[in-house]
């Protein structure tokens, strides 16, 4: 059993290291650590933003999506959406927003745990964090699609607006509104964390694989 455990956590960092080796063994820890910090910080920053532009709103209307909340002109956008029969934005992804803080916190802990697991299993620990930004985008796409395709057929403009899926990135048109969707700093930080994790795992593997091969 202890053999199994050792296999999972992989070899320990050698006690005696020269300068070059120390750097080699520490680099993955630093990369994974930074990735964890980025993920943690991203929870407090916007992930996605949609701006609506129309002649009568010279400043545009915008909604910013955080992992746990929506900010911006939500009530005004909801007010406009009722004409086409779209449900209020606050009704979307309620479960996701409720658990997101805990979930991202767990991802961060798993990434930190991966620092101490020097076997390929580290990848499994880091996998949720690697997938996280893509899960976020996929979930948002799901909700936008769900909302856009399920309009109230009794709404005032239901006959003049076909069900639609607003773009998740880039521009589109809904009625007189030009929609401009963009990824925000939080999501970019999550992407950067993914890159750092992958790099960290790569260098971790590079550092510890010779130890495995030796044994």
């Amino acid at each position: 059993m202890s053999n199994f455990f050792k296999k999972i956590i992989g070899p320990r960092t050698p006690q005696t290291l020269d300068e070059h080796e120390r750097r080699q063994f520490h680099l993955p820890n630093v990369l994974l650590g930074i990735a964890a910090v980025l993920l943690l910080a991203s929870m407090f920053l916007p992930y996605w933003k949609m701006t609506l532009k129309a002649p009568q709103y010279p400043g545009g209307l915008s909604v910013e999506v955080y992992v746990n909340r929506l900010t911006g002109d939500v009530s005004e956008i909801d007010g406009l959406n009722h004409y086409i029969g779209m449900r209020p934005l606050g009704e979307a992804a309620q479960l996701e927003r409720a658990v997101s803080m805990v979930a991202v916190g767990a991802l961060v802990l798993l990434v930190l745990a991966a620092i101490f697991v020097h076997s390929p299993w580290a990848l499994l620990l880091a996998l949720p964090a690697i997938l996280w930004p893509f899960i976020f985008i996929a979930d948002m796409y799901f909700w936008m699609r769900h909302f856009g395709l399920n309009l109230d057929p009794t709404a005032p403009l239901s006959s003049s607006i076909e069900p639609f899926v607003p773009p998740i990135l880039g521009t589109g048109m809904v009625g007189q509104f030009e929609t401009i969707a963009s990824f925000q700093i939080g999501l970019w930080m999550a992407f950067l964390a993914v890159a750092l994790i992958l790099a960290g795992l790569y260098y971790q593997r590079k550092a510890y694989k010779p130890l495995v091969d030796k044994s």
Partner: protein, 685 residues
């Protein structure tokens, strides 16, 4: 169980595949609507030949220069706000400079349906009712607005409040410049006409309302034969409570003055802070009676070569008032003329002749009095006035008010032309005086510390620019502050005569914009603007960035009358109709494009209290509301709650609706008030 490197490979492979799959989803979703991107608008038109346009329209190069100075393209905002009295309309006009576009009319003393002022909305009805009753007991509904006064902090306009007087009924209104709505009207308890208002002290501690026509104070009766003994003039100092945004009537007082007709006043500033200067006419004590063979007022009141500049020690008067040294007239504290004389609150300086404006220079050192029937402006030195008061005088008028020696207080006299009325200032050491009979604006140079600001010798006429026609007041940018801007001057002309296309015998007023950014004789007239609603008297110009107007009310459920959220404001999801006996209360919300509820069923004879909250947060998403035949109309701006009450006297079906074109489905924003006839109602009970 044995794990080796080969057993971990599938996991890695799966991971990589999943990432690639997620990337693919992302890229596909991004592409979804990319083709629908809006194409940018095409640039319209080619460059046009300006000279050809000018020639076709008969425009001179000067015209073109003036157009360029004033034209404000779509979407660009003006540099200054001009707040103009609306004269007999009882309102205030808000005009942008230099474009001279009217931006808003503010309902002040007169019911105005667009803003829902005086057509049911409780706060507005209260303001009107508290603002005084006509002889028949109904609220006064018109005013002769004269002189707007912007609130000041340290002698600078602060853009928070605007005050304006009603000459016809001796009233003063307070307008809050966060929402550009009137919040209070106070009626002077002791007199019926005012003219010397409103002027504020440098920190808006006091709002000055000087009287006009002599009368028995407190609206008592006394024969005109007793004019000298029973009739009086007055000046009222309204204490302003900035926190409350209201005049504190219970901390305000008046001073009894001789029955000369006090005219215009100005507050001292800087060195002269704490003093107030008002001029007067009819020191002859003329009582008219042209039908009896007496000289008419116009000549009876114009006999004396000198009238009296009233010099009032406001700070000391406030101490006398605080010490309780006053009488009560109509429950209002009035410092008697005798007390004012004994306490040294009031001095006179002779001033020629039936003068009009009394204006303090930006440094507070000089008081400029325009002669009206004398071609000069007379400049009084504040330090000279103080020295003369210090030295004492044995000369008094017939009421015992000490008269200072003219030569000892006069700093300079500058001959400008015929009919000088009002004076304003710029930042280059010039004063500007309106010349009614000459129909011109005079630029002249000030002395004292202003002398070094321009090339012209002190106290001399520099130039005159004709205006069309019969100029009354004039106003310059920030012209009443300690640091005027110069740049612009607006001549407020009483007659337009031939300036605009004919509109029948009642002609608009003519506001003319002058560019005073130059020096010397460079003072061109650059724009004419008709003002088709009453004769505005005075106006003030404030830098646009000083006005911090709200876009929408700060919170939903906002009561503009108290400037706070009202607990009983209807909320979304809690709309309802409550009945308590014959009292019905409607809790309604408005949002594009429906009212909730859309059916209100009541009975004839019910007393109905109706609350509506506009729950919108978007700029300009205003809703209106009316019930036909009930003479109710309210404006409900984003966030605002409005309450109105009425008795359901008339039965039937009433289609209430939104009166502001709020949205594409505005016409559908309506509902029915069903008023069941009382006989049927009782039969059903």
């Amino acid at each position: 169980m044995r794990l080796n490197r080969s057993s971990t490979r599938p996991i890695m492979l799966i991971t990589v595949l999943m990432i690639m799959a997620a990337m693919a989803v992302l890229i596909v979703s991004c592409r979804d609507n990319a083709g629908q991107a809006n194409t940018s608008a095409q640039v319209a038109g080619a460059t046009e030949d300006i000279n050809a346009i000018a020639e076709a329209r008969g425009l001179t190069p000067t015209d073109i220069a003036n157009a360029v100075k004033t034209y404000t393209p779509s979407g660009k905002h003006d540099e200054y706000y001009l707040f103009a009295s609306g004269g007999q309309s009882g309102q205030v006009y808000v005009i942008g400079l230099p474009s001279m576009r009217i931006v808003k009319q503010i309902a002040v003393f007169t019911p105005e349906p667009w803003q829902g002022f005086g057509y049911g909305a409780e706060g507005t009805m209260n303001v009107l009712a508290e603002g005084g009753l006509a002889a028949d007991g109904t609220p006064l509904t018109w005013a002769d607005t004269h002189h707007p006064g912007l609130s000041e902090t340290n002698g600078e306009y602060d853009g928070q409040f605007l005050f304006i007087n009603d000459k016809a009924n001796a009233r003063v209104a307070v307008i809050d410049l966060r929402d550009f709505e009137v919040k209070q009207i106070v009626k002077n308890p002791i007199t019926l006409s005012d003219h010397g208002g409103t002027f504020v002290t440098p920190n808006t501690d006091w709002v000055i309302e000087g009287g006009q026509y002599g009368m028995p104070l407190g609206n008592e009766y006394s024969s005109i034969e007793n004019y000298e003994s029973d009739y009086r003039g007055m000046i009222t100092f309204w204490k302003f409570n900035r926190e409350a945004g209201r005049i504190a009537v219970d901390q305000s007082f008046a001073i009894e003055l001789p029955p000369y007709w006090q005219d215009l006043c100005d507050s001292g500033k800087l060195v002269s802070d704490g003093w107030v200067f008002c001029n007067s006419i009819n020191t002859e004590l003329a009582t008219g009676g042209v039908e009896l063979g007496n000289p008419p007022f116009e000549s009876g009141a114009s006999q004396n070569d000198m009238d009296f500049l009233h010099i009032i020690n406001l700070n000391k008067a406030a101490e006398v008032y605080a010490a309780g040294n006053y009488e009560m007239i109509n429950d209002f504290p009035v410092i008697s003329l005798d007390t004012a004389i004994a306490e040294g609150l009031l001095y006179f300086a002779p001033e020629p002749k039936s003068p009009h404006g009394s204006d303090v220079t930006p440094d507070g050192e000089f008081v400029i009095v325009a002669g009206k029937l004398d071609p000069h402006v007379t400049v009084f030195g504040f330090d000279k006035i103080m020295a003369a008061i210090e030295a004492g005088t044995s000369d008094t008028d017939k009421y015992g008010v000490p008269i200072l020696d003219f030569d000892s207080v006069m700093e300079a006299q500058v001959e400008l032309g015929l009919g000088p009325l009002h004076t304003q200032f710029d930042n280059k050491g010039y004063a500007y005086t309106s010349l009614f009979l000459d129909s011109a604006v005079a630029r002249w140079s000030l002395g004292g510390s202003f002398d070094e600001l321009n090339e012209d010798p002190p106290w001399t006429l520099v130039t005159k620019t004709p205006v069309q026609y019969n100029i009354g007041h004039l106003t310059t940018a920030e012209g009443d502050t300690t640091t005027p801007d110069g740049n612009y001057l607006v001549a407020m002309n009483k007659w337009a005569v031939d300036r605009f296309m004919p509109v029948g015998p009642l002609l608009p007023q003519n506001f003319q914009l002058l560019d005073i950014s130059g020096t010397g004789t460079d003072m061109p007239l650059i724009y004419d603007m008709p003002l088709p609603d009453g004769e505005p008297h005075y106006a003030q110009i404030i830098k646009a960035d000083k006005i911090k107007a709200w876009d929408v009310y700060p919170e939903v459920g906002w009561d503009p009358h108290t400037q706070s959220v009202r607990a009983d404001a209807p909320k979304q999801g809690e709309e309802r109709v409550e009945r308590d006996g014959n009292n019905v209360t409607v809790y309604m919300t408005a949002i594009r494009s429906h009212f909730t509820p859309e059916r209100v069923e009541i009975k004839q004879g019910d007393h109905v209290t109706w609350h509506i909250t506009n729950v919108e947060r978007a700029l300009d998403a205003t809703h209106g509301f009316t019930i036909p035949d009930y003479n109710i109309h309210v404006s409900i701006e984003p966030g605002e709650v409005v309450t109105f009450e009425f008795d359901a006297v008339q039965d039937g079906v009433f289609s209430y609706y939104c009166t502001e074109f709020c949205s594409a489905l505005h016409l559908e924003m309506m509902g029915y008030m069903m008023v069941e006839p009382s006989d049927q109602a009782s039969a059903n009970d």
